[in-house]
Amino acid sequence: MLTIGGHTFNSRLFLGTGKFSSSAVMKQAIEASGTEMVTVALRRVDLDNPADDIMSSLDRNRCVFLPNTSGARNAEEAIRLAHLARAASGSIWLKLEVTPDPRTLLPDPIETLKATEELVRAGFIVLPYMNADPILALRLQDAGAAAVMPLGSPIGSNQGILTAFQIEIIIDQARVPVVVDAGIGAPSHAALAMEMGADAVLVNTAISVAGDPVAMARAFAQAVEAGRTAFVAGMGSRSKQAHASSPLEGTLATDLNFLA
């Protein structure tokens, strides 16, 4: 069972709630995914449509509510958003995102570390979104991060796990859960992350913009389950050479003169 910030999760699939075509589809996808952790963002109220509300579509008894600081370009903005999120949700959970460059949305490591230190002091359960940098992961966990969230590839890019080598090192060293976040575009990507030993994955775009988001949510749930089971079962080691699956003794090869 996965435990983060003292909370136990049965599902290792975390779900982002952005870009769903409707609240009804989002609700069904959350259901189908079996997730127990959903992320949300904070934005200014649309004054022309003030009654629009995502909260009514989310069951907070079933899912931990993980506000993010998306849109923050530095530690100061992220901290401001974190406090607003806590005031709005009453929850101390926080996905820390500090992304100064809108083109890549890559996280700023220095500002992320600064914000993590301050928000942990302020009593938040901080899950920082980070580049797949093993040294930074150690620094963040030392600063009190409840989990680390290395990226597979840029947010919303659907490119999968391009950072496998670094994520393996992060998993190897981590004393806190490792949640692979961003870029996971297919169930096979999620399965790969889990086979590598990730504790969970966070998926949004791949599900919310799928042709059938509800079916895709189910596919991701199965992939995460399969990948986790494979990791626990113990994967065989890789080799450049072939190793026959069938016995080499007692073959008819000599008689048939295959090798002559």
Binding site: F20, V40, A41, R43, R44, P50, S70, H83, S89, N204
Partner: protein, 66 residues
Amino acid sequence: MLIYLNGSPKTITDSKTVAGLLQDLAIPHALVVVELNKTILHPDSHAATVLKDNDQMEIIRFVGGG
């Protein structure tokens, strides 16, 4: 009187409270958090907080996001 609401100038009547403005805008209190001049306002103080000229007010709420 002029305030800045979600970054845009807005003219309001004098001695308007935060609660009064939310009501005018048909925004349910329970769904939003209000920040006034970069300080978060507790919902209990919406009714007693009177807006002043040049106040910067942000009305924030949760939306879908990753």
